[in-house]
Assembly symmetry: C2
Homo-oligomer: 210 residues x 2
Amino acid sequence: MALAVRTQPAKRTESRAKRRRQLINATIRCIARRGLSGTTMGEVARVAGLSQGIVNLHFQSKDNLLTETLRFLSDEYKALFERTLAQSGPGAAEKLLALMQLDLKPSVCDRQKLAVWFAFWGEAKSVPTYQKICDAHDREYDEVMLKLCESIINDGRYKGVNAQQVVDALSSMTDGLWLAALIRPKSWDRHEAFDAVYSYLGAVFPRHYS
Amino acid sequence: MALAVRTQPAKRTESRAKRRRQLINATIRCIARRGLSGTTMGEVARVAGLSQGIVNLHFQSKDNLLTETLRFLSDEYKALFERTLAQSGPGAAEKLLALMQLDLKPSVCDRQKLAVWFAFWGEAKSVPTYQKICDAHDREYDEVMLKLCESIINDGRYKGVNAQQVVDALSSMTDGLWLAALIRPKSWDRHEAFDAVYSYLGAVFPRHYS
DNA sequence: ATAAAATGAATGATCATTCATTCATTTTTC
DNA sequence: GAAAAATGAATGAATGATCATTCATTTTAT
């Protein structure tokens, strides 16, 4: 990932939306590289190839830039999530599996992207806005997962299987696998991670996953 | 959690070890409250009820203070882990369960403490020292878990159960449950978290957990 | 008296924000 | 169509606040 590589002179002015997007992308890159502590407005500007003033022009403050960056991440994920649901097979089991696969997909479970997620989670307790955005994000995700699990339980007549528990276990597992990918990149393996998730699905819903 | 409440005048001088410990505790409190970005040497000194200079005297630099703080957390957890192993029943299944319970125990799975763990994880990619400490920590934990799982698999003659997979699933699950406790404190429930873990154990090792 | 712990102000660096100025584009006037 | 005026994007230096580190001095323990 080369920072601030510019192969040709950029247009000096650009639409507001494009500029904001450019600055958010630069922010993501800076956070991924330097963490939240090391992310400065100066560095965001440098990575974006723009001036420091324009960051403030578009986002008013550093706090707002970071908040908007987190919102962007959340919205981006949401779009992927919805597309995954729309494009997967019609059954609840297929959709659930597709969502698990989404979380471990190279473009989502990418170490740069994970570093950014964890950077915001790391500040969630001290910055209530981040916590709210993350909470809302999780909640949406979980509701869909819950419906899918309930559907599978009904379909497969699984007794003693609690849908909420399965959702808690699955979503925790993927978050934890993300952490492992971040902390232990050398020993982490995408397929093994998927196998761990799949083996859970197989254990809980043997008639749907085996 | 009252910061810097002093009910009586502290001794002006104190042993080196006690001072360092005091400063590390103050650091943990600051990180829990303000995050890593908001943790300053000035605030650590204030919370410890000491001068700014003494923080540098004992730790040389902010970076070193934070690194030592992470090491302290890791060592503290390790001591608890070993004590839990020593005090649990003799069987692998009992020990594994005890370790799962340790992770969800109020004194360990405490939102202040979690905030600090996540703060360091959030900077793991940008601060290689943090990553190394966390990686080593995880590795030790996982080795013990692996042996316990292998033992249970042998004892219960579980076919098609892969010990490494179970370890990956369990440790990810607890990390993810920690994240949920941090992001969603209002809806998070310790017993439900444990139930999710226990149901996984029951699904994978039905002859040992039910 | 000496050595070590501890203080807290000074220091220089860094940072987020501001703002005077420049630049590019659009609109208006002729 | 061309030139001038208006508008808004963009620049980057200035500014004041904040911060980590340093160090001269004070305090404490032996």
